[in-house]
């Protein structure tokens, strides 16, 4: 279980909600659960190959998950996942 902060450009997909709570023990599970709950997010968050869209950066609390264990990073219930455009630094995955 984890809180996920939704940036404005994605809020139409979450019915305007800024923050949602979804289940999951890892970053990957939380993102999968997020897309399962709000399917409209799939187009923006998930690349055709199944991984994260290269223009999306995901932060666990304050840390870029690329500095952690990416999708395998463990998530505690008190954690917040932040989804931001890759403007805060981009990379081809």
């Amino acid at each position: 279980m984890s809180g996920v902060r939704i940036p404005p450009v994605l809020r139409t997909a979450t019915g305007g909600q800024k923050q949602v709570t979804v289940p999951g023990e890892t970053v990957g599970e939380v993102i999968d659960a997020l897309v399962a709950t709000y399917p409209a997010l799939g187009a923006q968050l998930v690349a055709p190959t199944g991984g994260l869209n290269p223009f999306v950066n995901v932060f666990l609390n304050d840390t870029d998950i690329r500095h952690l264990e990416e999708r395998a990073t463990a998530v505690q219930p008190s954690d917040t996942l932040i989804i931001l455009p890759a403007m805060a630094g981009g990379s081809l995955r």
């Binding site: 187009a43 869209n53 870029d64 932040i82 403007m87 805060a88 630094g89 995955r93």
Partner: protein, 457 residues
Amino acid sequence: MTTQTIDPTPAATESLLTAETDAARAADGRVRGLRCRNCGRLEALGPSYVCAACFGPLEVTYDYARIRAEIQRATIEARPPGIWRYLELLPVDAPPERGLNVGSSPLLKGSRIGRELGVERLWLKDDTRNPTLSFKDRVVAVAAARAVTFGFDTLACASTGNLAGATAAAAAAVGLRAFVFVPADLEPAKISHALAYGATVVRIDGTYDELNRLCLEVADEEGWAFVNVNLRPFYAEGSKTLGLEIAEQLGWRLPDVVVVPVASGALLTKIGKAFEELVDVGLVEPRPVRFVGGQAEGCSPVATAFGNGSSEILPVRNPDTIVKSLAIGSPADGRYALELVRRTGGSVESVPDRTTAGWIRRLAATEGIYAETAGGVTLGAVEAARRSGVIQPDDEVVALLTGNGLKTPDARLFGLTDPGSSAAQNGLTPPIRPSLDAFEEWLDSGVWAREPAGVAS
């Protein structure tokens, strides 16, 4: 890229346009809107930077057919100096009423330093002398003009240093409130510079990349005009003016090579866009230009990807370099810079800090130009690209000096053995009495004799 930007918008994309887009287009004429660099979707002109469909970055796009019909060398040449002489290729309706005097910096022959670098025809684009002493005045001028027309009351930025002063001064000139976010360990000269213009300086205990992430959230929460976040498409267009000036100053020609310091990669990418646009609208003849980027060894994610032949840019978590102005570990436009460099047969060079400091000293000692750390990196990149053969001895090369040495006063001494105490190295000798005797004694003693301002290897 050239064909992409002048292509008519595909019908599918056109159907996504709203009435608001049509209004924005009518108001701006030449400016068609914001186009996603990833999927090509067109959006209305506004303070947005992310594609709603695919999350890709947005870029300003123009009606190039119309610009081609209107733009003329003579019209541009007849205008006053400054970035607005290239109005047709900038995303504003008219030159703003208020703002600083930015741009038209000199393109100087660098023959003395060129000889040391083994480059016969070297030009130095001296952007150390903009209003706040860096090229960032260009990008901020465009973003600030847009912030005013969009009706914002606060101008803000996420800065590696130079942007803070540029944003603070521009906000003062156009009458907006300024909040500038900087890493707490920034050079003191840059912090006090921003404070002097009345800006609120938000010092963040973290890296640039961490404060940039924070600023993305603050931009959304506070509704401020962050020049390099929500106004980034407009900000980035300002970088084109360096490329436009270079072409005009060469007599409406493109050089063989341009050498550009790389932080986010926006500057390098946008000089590429400027050259392509000049060809598209018929102001210069096409010519293959190689793009060479420079990064500091202690924060060189783009140079590393280039060296590995990889298209993946791995972020650098903890930059460790004296070149704070380029210390972006996760560069927003890195992929586009890498792509441009590869496509043109250029390179991205990684320059050690000692080499950077050495070139700062050599540039000052041979050309009378005092550049900040990014300028030392640029010359280090010329040297490295010359050594690898990317730059040939007879190439016409333009090197960008994007910031002033007064902002990084300690950098020139970096790597010297004992900079604190040796007059031979730092040039500082003890004060003497105001008498001719004392002076002659001092002169005879030779304490003032300087070591050559060499480049460390």
